[in-house]
Amino acid sequence: MTYLRIENVDKQFDRAGQRSEVLKDVSLDIARGEVISIIGHSGCGKSTLLNLIAGLTEVSSGGIQLEGREVNGPGPERAVVFQNHSLLPWLTVYENVNLAVAKVFGKTKTGSERHDWIMQNLDLVQMSHAKDKRPTEISGGMKQRVGIARALAMQPKILLLDEPFGALDALTRAHLQDAVMDIQKRLGSTMIMITHDVDEAVLLSDRIVMMTNGPSARIGEVLPVPLERPRNRIELAGDRTYLKCREAVLKFLYERHRFVEAA
């Protein structure tokens, strides 16, 4: 059953009279509860695609529907976890989540219900101990946890993650990947995640969407990852299916669609 439908989406940007085509004829159907990774070289329009789904940018042609309803503009039912966390530095951890909760549930929940909901989401990312700290006082991984809590607290229909672990060191990244898998298992969330990390894509996703190089990037291939959940990175390290998926992605990225420009 299709939950999110992306249909023949094109995206062009007009800048200083010059038209540049970023995405060409992108179509994808996503089921409820599915975890999708979008992978590709930098500049291939992955972030543009995520922004289109979020409604932060408008499609040039084609359409995006969530539960049969056309996406036209951003909204809390499509919450975004930003690469650089985007927490407001003048608010505490609690207040940052509260900003979202007060706006989304201001009319439907009472004050104490909202407080419980905020704490429940901070618990989910194991950050309730730092609720009165400001973003400058906590580590990068912790900030990203709070960013995830803020997004989850909007009770989104779909969670959009824009290279959520890109700015973190490898160990912290592994911790957060596990936390995200755990949360996804508990809540059954639908997720779309942008990444350029092959292992991350294989470990976390049900399907991996591989983009060709821009300009006019398309979906080159969609690779299903038939691995049982819960997944354990240590057990999977030697798993045949895991290695085959990994190889398929690597071959796509480095053989068939090598990044031609010097980075």
């Binding site: 985007s86 706006k103 194991q126 101990h129 909007m154 911790h175 898998m181 755990d182 990175r233």
Partner: protein, 297 residues
């Protein structure tokens, strides 16, 4: 692995608390040491300026003590205007009042004029900062207007208001509003796109965006503008009062010049300088308090 983290997290919390308590105990022991340290650092900051002031007074005394010197020496200032220094708040009636009271009257005008300038400046700056075209259109005009000296506005303002009190306030307003507008606009333009995206996803309306994102995000810029603005308004009030009369500190200087009380003028100058310094530090302190945590990422 995530299960491990979950089990660890609650366990580490009491530890953290215990550590905090243990930390609290040795503080009384270190207090005398830290006290003498603070005293030393205060002394290090206070002694040099005191020495310099003493030196200046001595040189000034030597230069002006000769008979026929055109300006009074410090000893003469003390003899003639000592009362102004010692008792700032006397009130003998008929407008013969201490410099402290005069400063308060001037400050009241500054408070009104600068208060209006702050409100208008932040609002107008926020609107301009939101629109590229408003910025392009209005910025050159503001850049020109902000260089007009305060007193140049006074004749126009007198003609418009037909009264000296509102004219003085208007001159303060028009002098101090430009840096507030310009800095606020720059601050609003520099709000990171990420914060705007957060606001869009949360579907914040204009009013919520203004108070919850724009003002706090632009606060460091706004306070820079306010700090420049308060300095300019203090410059303007003295000049404006010299011409419009009344009982403020500016008029006192003009009055003292007309009756050749040079010592009084010197004392008044020191008052003005000290009050201006305090105003500047006050706005800076409020800014530091309000914007704590806003900068840096």
């Amino acid at each position: 692995m995530s299960a491990n983290v979950q089990r660890l997290a609650p366990a580490t919390m009491p530890d953290a608390k215990a550590a905090a308590e243990v930390f609290a105990l040795p503080t009384p022991a270190t207090r005398p040491g830290s006290w003498s340290k603070t005293l030393a650092s205060i002394a290090a900051n206070v002694v040099p300026p005191l020495v310099v002031v003493a030196l200046i007074l001595v040189i000034w005394q030597i230069l002006c003590a000769t008979p026929g010197a055109s300006l009074p020496a410090p000893s003469q200032v003390w003899a003639e205007a000592g009362e102004l220094i010692v008792s700032p708040f006397f009130d003998y009636g008929q407008g013969d009042i201490g410099l402290g009271l005069r400063v308060l009257i001037s400050l009241q005008r500054v408070a009104i004029g600068f208060g209006i300038a702050a409100l208008v400046g932040v609002t107008v700056g926020a609107v301009i900062g939101q629109s590229i075209w408003a910025m392009r259109g209005l910025d050159p005009i503001f850049q020109i207007l902000r260089t007009v000296p305060p007193l140049a506005w006074l004749p126009l303002s007198l003609a418009a208001f037909m009264d000296s009190a509102p004219s003085a306030i208007f001159v303060i307003f028009i002098t101090s509003v430009w840096p507030v507008i310009i800095n606020t606009a720059v601050g609003v333009r520099n709000i990171p796109q990420d914060y705007r995206n957060v606001a869009r996803i949360l579907q914040l309306n204009q009013v919520e965006f203004f108070f919850k994102i724009m003002i706090p995000a632009a606060a460091p810029y706004i306070f820079t503008g306010l700090r420049i603005g308060v300095g300019l308004s203090w410059l303007a009030i003295v000049a404006a009062e010299m011409l419009t009369g009344g009982v403020g500190i500016g008029f006192f200087i003009w009055d003292a010049w007309n009756s050749s009380r040079l010592s009084d003028i010197i004392v008044a100058l020191v008052y003005i300088g000290v009050v201006g310094f305090i105003l500047d530090r006050l706005v800076a302190a409020v800014g530091a308090f309000v914007t704590r945590g806003t900068t840096a990422n």
